[in-house]
């Protein structure tokens, strides 16, 4: 992957912050972990929403399902009593997992969460991609709500009373650092996977679907296959990060697993703020959004929602293309966008102009 100097500097700064941030500000370790989580959510949302033009309000489904799947895997692998017994005890059973058991369970749980998220998205694809525009958005929101409601009817996973996650085998500082690293690494993996994908024909195909899906179909692009993959990637990462988030929270129930009005909406808002349909927009949007959210939480407690709402309104009314989109139109050369090349002459240049 070739990178411009700006890009290298950006990666350098982010890496420095990612590595030294929690060392210099240990109190903020978990807050920075949530920051990376938001970057992952906004970036993977943008694959479907920004790059492909299918504005999903339901990606949070995979987050919640991943959380539950991971819990099941973590408990069932190493607790002889089984998941049903564990959950029906409502947290009073605290099995002593050895560190090896715990970490194996967690690793398998995260992987299973990703895979189940992916499979679920493929199932959704079979009926959801008949919907376009606002119908897809509302349909996907309906899916999230439905899956959340179904989850709490399943006694096997604790029904409405939730599941206490297995205890972390280590002290609280190690625990924060460990989950921090998981969030950071997952975000890095997702970022570079997307960066590569957008540089291939896949990136153009999903952009073509966004611009004119009927034309893409008429040109022979197998649109459904692309759309399936375009949802499977976010679903996989949302499942994985959901597994991590469930363990960070320590206890999961419907509210923790399916935060539709918060994370479910934030991921969209962050991508719009930073600039949808760009690789860096959602990253930038997530960082700004998170910083403002934390700052207003500390200094403007009662006005936090007002402040966030205000930013969204300014974003939607005045900066629809988001910060990156605005920067790209203002400084196209910085982004390697050549507007016209009068230096290169071609036979029909004058004619076509």
């Amino acid at each position: 992957m070739s990178m411009t100097r700006d890009t290298k500097v950006t990666y350098g700064l982010l890496a420095l912050f990612g590595i030294f941030g929690p060392i210099l500000f240990p109190d903020y370790t978990l807050s920075i972990a949530y920051l990376w989580m938001m970057v992952l959510m906004a970036s993977t949302w943008d694959t479907l929403g920004g790059q492909m033009g299918y504005n999903s309000l339901g990606n949070i489904t995979f987050f919640g399902v991943g959380m539950y799947v991971s819990a099941i895997v973590q408990v069932s692998f190493f607790y002889e009593g089984g998941v049903a017994e564990y959950t029906s005890a409502m947290g009073s059973i605290k099995p002593e997992f050895t560190p090896a058991e715990y970490f194996w369970g967690l690793g398998l749980g995260i992987l299973a969460a990703g895979v189940v998220g992916l499979v679920l998205s493929v199932i959704f694809s079979s009926f959801m991609f008949g919907l376009r525009g606002p119908y897809f958005a509302i349909g996907s929101l309906g899916l999230a709500i439905a899956v959340a409601e179904v989850t709490i009817t399943i006694d096997y996973v604790g029904g409405a009373s939730g599941i206490s996650m297995p205890l972390f085998p280590g002290d609280i500082e190690f625990r924060s650092t460990f989950f921090y690293i998981l969030c950071f690494v997952l975000t890095i993996i997702s970022h570079f996977l997307l960066r590569w994908l957008y540089s291939t024909q896949f990136g153009l195909a999903i952009n073509a679907i966004r611009d004119d899906e009927d034309k893409a179909e008429a040109m022979g692009i197998p649109t459904l296959a692309y759309k399936r993959i375009g949802w499977a990637i976010p679903a996989f990462f949302m499942g994985c990060i959901g597994a991590v988030a469930g363990n960070m929270a320590g206890f999961i129930d419907k509210e923790v697993a399916y935060p539709i009005p918060t994370f479910g909406i934030f991921m969209v808002a962050m991508a719009l703020l930073g600039g949808k349909g760009t690789l860096w927009g959602p990253v930038l949007g997530a960082i700004i959004f998170h910083v403002i959210k934390e700052a207003t939480w500390t200094y403007l407690l009662n006005l936090q929602w007002v402040a966030l709402g205000l930013i969204l309104i300014i974003n939607i009314v005045y900066f629809q293309q988001g910060i990156m989109g605005w920067l790209q139109t203002k400084y196209p050369e910085r982004f390697g966008i050549v507007v016209d090349t009068s230096t290169v002459t071609d036979a029909d240049g004058k004619e076509a102009a």
Partner: protein, 248 residues
């Protein structure tokens, strides 16, 4: 007709009460440039839509390269190697011209296309070469939605060539093109046919263009096939003169 690549037999299509196509029979000779003419609303675009699988037909049969395709969907037919351009011109408006071209590569089974192929090398070279061919090379990095209508028309034509189809159906390729550019476009259509070996079927209202370009022309009127023949035959056909050419 010795070797038709498209064979349309007894095709009818109505929209509610409007009989847009009634019992149409026609053929397109492999390697030819075939024309379709007729007054506004006589059913030319409807016929294209039926051929490329845009809508199901009411009755009749359509064969492409010896294979019945009237039950296939748009994407399947495109992947067999038959493409169409749109009367209203459709391109990917937020992408630049080179990207529009690169994503237009063929998706036929025998092509080298891969979903996750890199966009450097051969694909890019060919994209730029074809942009040069239609005279849009200096515009290649512009967002295609910012091009003029005529330029978008040329881009759409280049995108179709990028796909290396066996047959290309063009719906009014010269509409909206500056008259001084039309000769260049006729020349390019002919070169696409001769050098790239693409069979062309062209809907056209510009009589000078179609009489110059096509070796065989079909004339529709009121949804029915009125006449067909060489350009000379049609120009002297009283029914065609009455229905369509009259004013000229």
């Amino acid at each position: 007709m010795s070797d038709p690549i498209i064979k349309v037999e007894g095709v009818s299509k109505s929209y509610g009460g409007v009989k847009a196509n009634v019992d149409i029979t026609m053929g397109v000779e492999r390697g030819s440039i075939t024309g379709i003419i007729g007054p506004n609303g006589c059913g030319k675009t409807t016929l294209f839509n039926s051929i490329v699988g845009y809508h199901p037909i009411d009755s009749g049969s359509i064969q492409f390269d010896g294979q019945e395709i009237s039950h296939l969907l748009v994407g399947d037919i495109a992947r067999l190697g038959m493409l169409r351009t749109f009367q209203q011109t459709r391109i990917y408006g937020k992408m630049n011209c080179v990207d529009n071209m690169q994503i237009s590569v063929s998706h036929r089974g025998d092509s080298k296309f891969s979903m996750f192929a890199s966009r450097k090398g051969e694909i890019k070279d060919r994209a730029e070469h074809l942009l040069e061919f239609v005279g849009l090379y200096s515009k290649r990095n512009l967002i295609s939605g910012d091009l003029s209508f005529g330029q978008q028309k040329l881009l759409e034509f280049a995108m179709a060539l990028m796909n290396e189809p066996k047959v290309l159906l063009l719906d009014e390729p010269t509409a909206g093109i500056n008259p001084t550019l039309i000769n260049g476009l006729i020349d390019r259509l002919r070169r696409a046919n001769e050098e790239l070996g693409i069979t062309l079927c062209v809907i056209e209202h510009n009589m000078r263009v179609i009489m110059n370009l096509a070796s065989h022309i079909y004339c529709l009127a009121n949804g029915r096939m009125l006449a067909n023949g060489t350009p000379e035959e049609l120009q002297n056909d009283q029914r065609v003169i009455d229905a369509y050419l009259g004013g000229h």
